[in-house]
């Protein structure tokens, strides 16, 4: 608005608080993080410039690659677990019936819980002494299956993945539900006039119309799952023997447990670049698929 042009003072002082907080606590740290990646530093003494050596070390660090693979696994499990289940739930709950509202509320509950609560709750449920799972297995005479679920190399990671799906599926259900509700009534009416069966309507009409939402959800899901830290940190701290290590938990232990700030920052930078790269790749991939449809 032109009338506001005169109010430079308001413009300046009005945007100052937002810009200052944002720059000091978000933008500046990102660039600082990029800088520290090129240094060897224990957080106290003077940082020593070592060029790309941190990044070369990362490339040869087996624990980093383990955490990288786990991170990719979490992304894949999230995209191919949370989204399809969320979509199925949304399709099933789209038209209301007795109890549909209750189901919706129930599936969304984990989203309002703190990840720490989710992690501690599932750790307790799976705990070998007090947990329900082993008590149940023993009760039905399958005590030989009772394991130390989070302490076992074979089961820890699958369980973490399962809990991640449990936690976030409700979000995608809700997103797909609102997308389904946005499909114009006329389309449904046209289908029933033409005698299109429910199933082919779903495949040929509803799903293509949902595609933009699916696309947005994939990006959201990648961004979200690249961030996972809390759940693994509280449930297993990356263990046993790095079986559930993620890049973020590895970065944490390198930085705050063994004080390799430079190395930790280098890992931070890798996380940052990877998640942006994956988001862009995800978007590009989905766009091409849309053209085919």
């Amino acid at each position: 608005m032109d009338l506001f042009r005169k109010n430079r003072m308001f413009l300046f002082f009005g945007s100052l608080p937002a810009i200052l907080t944002y720059v000091i606590f978000v933008i500046y740290p990102i660039f600082r993080s990029f800088g520290y990646g090129f240094y060897e530093w224990n957080g106290l003494s003077d940082p020593k410039y070592i060029g790309l050596r941190n990044f070369l070390e990362i490339l040869q660090d087996p624990v980093f690659w383990k955490s990288f693979r786990n991170n990719i696994l979490v992304v894949l499990v999230s995209v191919f677990g949370q989204l399809p289940i969320g979509l199925v739930l949304a399709v099933l709950l789209h038209r209301s019936f007795k109890g549909s509202g209750a189901y919706r509320s129930i599936f969304f509950i984990p989203m309002i819980l703190s990840t720490v609560v989710v992690a501690l709750l599932w750790s307790s449920l799976l705990n070998p002494q007090v947990g329900v799972v082993n008590h149940f297995l023993k009760r039905v005479g399958m005590g030989f299956l009772a394991l130390n679920w989070l302490g076992d190399m074979r089961t820890a990671m699958p369980i973490v993945c399962g809990v991640i799906i449990w936690q976030f599926t409700g979000l995608y259900m809700v997103i797909f539900l609102s997308a389904l509700q946005n499909i114009p009534k006329e389309i449904h009416e046209a289908c029933s006039l033409d005698g299109v069966s429910e199933r082919s309507k779903l495949i040929h009409v509803t799903l293509p119309l949902l595609w933009p939402t699916v696309m947005a959800s994939v990006v959201l899901c990648i961004a979200g799952s690249m961030r996972s830290f809390d759940l693994v940190f509280v449930m297993t701290e990356g263990g046993p023997a790095h079986a559930t290590e993620l890049m973020a938990t590895y970065m944490y232990s390198k930085t705050f447990a063994v004080y390799k700030y430079g190395y930790g920052s280098a890992i931070s930078m890798v996380i940052f670049l990877l998640s942006f790269g994956m988001i862009l790749a995800g978007q590009a991939l989905m766009k091409r698929k849309q053209d085919v449809l």
């Binding site: 009005g14 907080t21 309002i112 703190s114 947990g131």
Partner: protein, 274 residues
């Protein structure tokens, strides 16, 4: 197919799945009123008598009272700051024309994609340099800063569609931009502000990673951090832990029960960001 058959099939699929969601929460509440002895002997069984003691112990002995108050203070102050700072910025971005407007807007929006973990280390160093470690301000300021992108995204798109005529009328009446903001823009954006408040409340109440690296003093810890340390001090006190989890969850749960539609709307508005 008859309608009741279709509905029946849905229940057949949905009911077991819902059990997977309800049972853990039910178990959490049930375990929180048992004794630790009872849990060891039967993880499934109902308590012989309700054991409220766990709540009292968690609240007093295990410091939940302190964590709870800290969470309330940190959450409330950062919501207030987020709303004030972001609504002012959104008003300017939506209704003022200036050279760097688009660049500024993009800068804020990109912030929504920044993985929080990628800046934990530098932010920690930043807080240390500012002498804010072990201070509630470290949490309040970082929650506010990280809440800005989503808040600005929600508010800016809301304010942008307000007709300019209303603002012009205000200007002709001699209102200053600040008065226009306080008396016209803010009251009109109430639904969007409500979404921002709900979203920041949930995010800040649940937040763990920042608290973990900024706070080590017992008296400054928020709920998620306190819960994380619970078993460290109260070894094997699972009944107490469950009581503590219930205490931490009650506020968000109450909000969810009463404001379910708004909560879901706020969270999806924060999630689907373009």
């Amino acid at each position: 197919m008859k309608r009741w058959v279709r509905v029946g099939i849905r229940h057949l699929f949905l009911f077991p799945f819902a059990t997977l969601y309800v049972f853990p929460l039910f178990w959490m509440v049930m375990t929180s009123i048992k004794t630790n002895q009872e849990i060891l002997f039967g993880s499934f069984a109902f308590p012989k008598q309700i054991h409220w003691q766990n709540y009292l112990e968690a609240w007093e002995t295990a410091n939940m009272r302190v964590y709870f108050l800290n969470s309330i203070v940190v959450t409330a102050v950062s919501i207030l700051l987020t709303v004030l700072v972001s609504s002012l910025m959104s008003f300017i971005l939506a209704k003022f024309r200036f050279r760097l407007r688009n660049a500024l807007y993009s800068l804020f929006i990109i912030g929504m994609l920044v993985p929080l973990q990628s800046i934990l280390v530098p932010l920690f160093l930043q807080m240390r340099a500012l002498h804010l470690l072990d201070s509630r301000w470290s949490l309040i300021l970082s929650y506010t800063a990280f809440g800005l992108p989503v808040a600005i995204f929600i508010l800016e798109s809301f304010v942008r569609v307000f007709p300019d005529e209303i603002l012009e009328a205000g200007i002709l009446d001699g209102c200053s931009p600040l008065r226009i903001f306080l008396q016209i823009i803010l009251p009109m954006s109430r639904p969007a502000v409500a979404s921002v408040i709900i979203l920041s409340f949930l995010n800040n109440w649940k937040e763990f990673a920042f608290a973990l690296i900024f706070i080590s003093e017992e008296t400054k810890k928020t709920l998620p951090l306190g819960l994380y340390n619970f078993l460290g001090t109260e070894t094997n006190n699972y009944a107490g832990l469950m009581a503590a989890l219930v205490i931490a969850t009650v506020p968000v749960f109450i909000m969810y029960v009463f404001l379910q539609e708004q909560v879901i709307k706020g969270m999806t508005a924060g999630a689907v960001k373009g």
